[in-house]
């Protein structure tokens, strides 16, 4: 018993002394951060915590919590983890601070590419890019002598061939859970067909040729999916891959690392990534580009903001990337793109390249309207045109309520 306590105490002291090992200084100011909960954020916040006195909250509901928490005075968090989709309310409400001075003082290791500038001011520091791209089981495609599909029509052909060979339960997976995920899948396809969401006067424009084509293509792919696709989110698709149930999916790059995690995955080294397929010839890959990064709250004393930024820089340093190379497509120096990064890089460097997810108030409303109205098309309650008309009606109501439309 005594030995056990001794061992535990020894371990504890090791842990506390080890806590500052990865950090160049000891942080005296208590700091809090709120970010999404995927692996890359875990590595970054762990690296920040090495400086001491950092309490990190990783929560997939961060997008709901952040605006209110940062609007409080003093702000409930010092550091926020954001993406280009979720930074909009923070920018709109002015609850995050410009970082130019701090970048000049402490951001020596940052590359210019990482600095998110709004009207010239640095408002956020990006750490990684993310995109939905094609992930596929190379072993299956090789066995069947199939080429990696580059367009969605080819995806359908390859899926049919895989289904005929009956080697997996379902040839395709997709993040089509009703709500945000389904809307994002539509966004990808819609942009792939060259659509645009709103007109210059903020009126909706999804009820178009591109919208119908996008819905029809999505419907065509569902024939090769688990019939429960309307409840399937990123984690579900990731698990389908890991358990060898699907052969292809247009999935987030940030999920790629998990495919090679031997503790979870039965398909280690079998999943490869390629560029997101094109929806039409000559178009951009049917996907959007995202970045994830950090912001610093405005409603905190300058001294705390300074400490927060210093700690964040420790979290975003080369040492962290070296320990977590495969968890994301890092923008930080020291990152060595691995096999799984090929797809994301091919997507981002395609010509023409996919656009960054538009972070505007209109897009927020449109995304919600799409998420709520599209499921009826997939359950067969409504046709494509009717569904898109319903999306436009829902958007118009919400936009009027938000004061964006008269």
């Amino acid at each position: 018993m005594k030995l056990k306590i001794m061992a535990a105490a020894g371990l504890l002291s090791l842990m506390t002394t080890g806590a500052y090992a990865g950090c160049t200084y000891e942080n005296p100011v208590p700091l809090k951060s709120l970010s999404a909960g995927f692996e890359a954020w875990k590595s970054v916040t762990d690296a920040m915590a090495e400086c001491g006195n950092v309490e990190a909250e990783l929560d997939q509901e961060f997008r709901t919590k952040q605006p209110a928490a940062f609007a409080a005075n003093p702000s409930l968090y010092h550091i926020g983890g954001v993406s280009n989709g979720t930074v909009t309310p923070l920018l709109n409400e002015g609850t995050i601070r410009p970082l130019d001075d701090l970048v000049a003082q402490y951001g020596g290791n940052l590359s210019p590419n990482q600095l998110i500038r709004i009207n010239g001011q640095v408002m956020a520091v990006a750490m990684m890019v993310n995109t939905q791209h094609l992930m596929y089981r190379k072993d299956i495609l090789d066995d069947l002598g199939l080429a990696v599909p580059t367009t969605w029509n080819e995806v359908l052909e390859v899926a049919a061939a895989i289904e005929a060979a009956d080697v997996v339960e379902y040839p395709l997976g997709a993040t089509m859970k009703s709500g945000w995920n389904l809307a994002q899948d539509f966004n990808n396809m819609f942009l792939g067909y060259g659509g645009s969401f709103v007109n210059d006067d903020s009126t909706p424009a999804v009820n178009s040729e591109a919208g119908v084509k996008a819905l029809e293509m999505m419907k065509a792919t569902t024939a090769f999916m688990d019939p429960e696709y309307l409840v399937s989110d990123s984690t579900y698709v990731q698990q389908q891959f890991q358990q060898g149930k699907i052969a292809m999916a247009n999935l987030w790059a940030s999920r790629a690392g998990a495919m090679d995690d031997p503790a979870e995955s039965q398909v280690v080294d079998k999943v490869y990534a390629a560029a997101a397929p094109l929806a039409m010839e000559g178009g951009a890959p049917a996907t959007t580009l995202w970045w994830d990064g950090i912001v610093i709250a405005k409603n905190i004393p300058d001294a705390e903001a300074e400490s927060a930024f210093r700690v964040a820089m420790e979290g975003l340093d080369t040492e962290m990337v070296e320990g977590a190379n495969d968890e994301a497509i890092w923008l930080i120096s020291g990152y060595a793109p691995s096999r799984m990064a090929e797809g994301a890089i091919a997507t981002a460097t395609a010509e023409p390249a996919p656009i960054s997810y538009p972070s505007t108030s209109q897009m927020g409303l449109m995304h919600t309207a799409l998420g709520n109205e599209l499921p009826a098309f997939f359950t067969g309650e409504r046709g494509a045109r009717d569904t898109l008309a319903a999306v436009e009606a829902a958007y118009t109501t919400a936009a009027k309520e938000a004061g964006i439309l008269e």
Partner: protein
């Protein structure tokens, strides 16, 4: 009891009820007739975001709210009458659907779709919960004393589990190749997807709610059974009443006030069905009124919330509950006056 003593006992409770029930209710009621909008401006903004190698900068016209000196968003609030109600109910579309004879189209409007599910859910689970609760209570009452404690413990378990956790665990039993689905597939030798169509999800929801709430009815009825007049029961036996007749003419009338009570509570609770929608992530197929309110309140990625419509939808939900409760309340009131 002296009025002062009465007031001292009741006062804190009345105060808290005013503070936490009446005040929010009034505020929601008022907000359902108001529309608060940010003052927006359209400005040219240059945004630079990282590509994989170099940055891309785009200049576009963005709509963003104006801030005041304190850094808060400037808003305007105006009285808009029933505008939010009209936007939730969409009576115009309902009229069109009726005129066109396409009744099904009404159910594609969120509010009516939610109302359809909420009502069927409430009205189907009600008799099941009361029936099952009564059956368990009778079974336990007739069980041997030695095992009664254990049976009560086991039958109360579902009630103790946190609703969302209960819903999630049933979801995990059935989703994808969950253990139950896999078992059913093996037994029936066919492919089953419980979450691929609306009616199977609804079945799971009904099953879950009955499983979860029946113990509550059971506890109440079991307590009531302890007070059944044994003399009446014995005389009924002597008169040659069968087991069924004793239940029908002695026990159920005795339990009637409790049955009404359980029905009241259950109607109120299940009209606010919410955990099931979230737990079974059934939004694609079925939604409930409470979920609709929640969805209006949920900010999107740009931070917009539909407060006006959420308030209207919350008020409509309350009106719905009151309408459902009227027959039961009238009955209780009559009994009360009669006594």
């Amino acid at each position: 009891m002296k009025f002062r003593t009465f007031a001292a006992f009741v006062g804190p409770s009345v105060f808290l009820m005013l503070l936490f029930i009446a005040a929010p209710l009034t505020s929601v009621f008022l907000q359902s007739f108001q529309l608060t909008q940010p003052v927006l401006e359209r400005v040219e903004v240059e945004t630079c975001t990282p590509g994989f190698v170099t940055q891309t900068c785009v200049t576009e016209i963005k709509t963003r709210p104006l801030l005041d000196e304190a850094g808060n968003i400037r808003t305007t609030t105006e009285w808009v009458g029933g505008l939010s109600y009209a936007r939730v109910l969409q009576l115009g579309k309902v009229g069109e659907a009726i005129a066109a004879g396409a009744w099904g189209d009404i159910l594609s409007i969120d509010f009516w779709k939610a109302l359809r599910f909420t009502l069927t859910f409430t009205l189907i689970t009600l008799p099941l919960v009361i029936g099952l609760g009564l059956a368990i209570a009778l079974a336990v009452n007739n069980a041997a004393k030695a095992i009664r404690g254990q049976i009560i413990f086991v039958s109360l378990l579902p009630f103790i589990i946190t609703p969302v956790i209960g819903a999630l665990s049933i979801r995990w039993l059935f989703i994808g190749d969950g253990i139950m689905t896999a078992g059913l597939e093996w037994w029936l030798a066919r492919d089953i997807s419980m979450f691929a169509q609306g009616w199977t999800i609804e079945l799971l929801m009904l099953f879950y709610r009955v499983w979860h709430v029946a113990p509550f009815a059971f506890v109440i009825f079991y307590a009531g059974l302890q007070t059944v007049n044994q003399d009446t029961l014995e005389s009924a036996i002597i008169d040659g009443a069968s087991r069924w007749e004793r239940l029908r003419y002695v026990i159920v009338p005795h339990l009637m006030p409790l049955i009404v009570f359980v029905a009241l509570i259950h109607l109120m609770d299940s009209y606010r069905v919410f955990e099931e929608i979230v737990g079974f992530s059934s939004q694609a197929h079925v939604i409930s009124l409470q979920w609709l309110t929640y969805d209006f309140l949920q900010p999107d990625d740009a931070g917009n919330r539909a407060i006006g419509r959420a308030s209207a939808s919350a008020m409509l939900t309350m009106v719905g509950i009151v309408i459902l409760l009227i027959p039961l309340l009238r009955r209780t009131w009559r009994d009360h006056r009669g006594a």
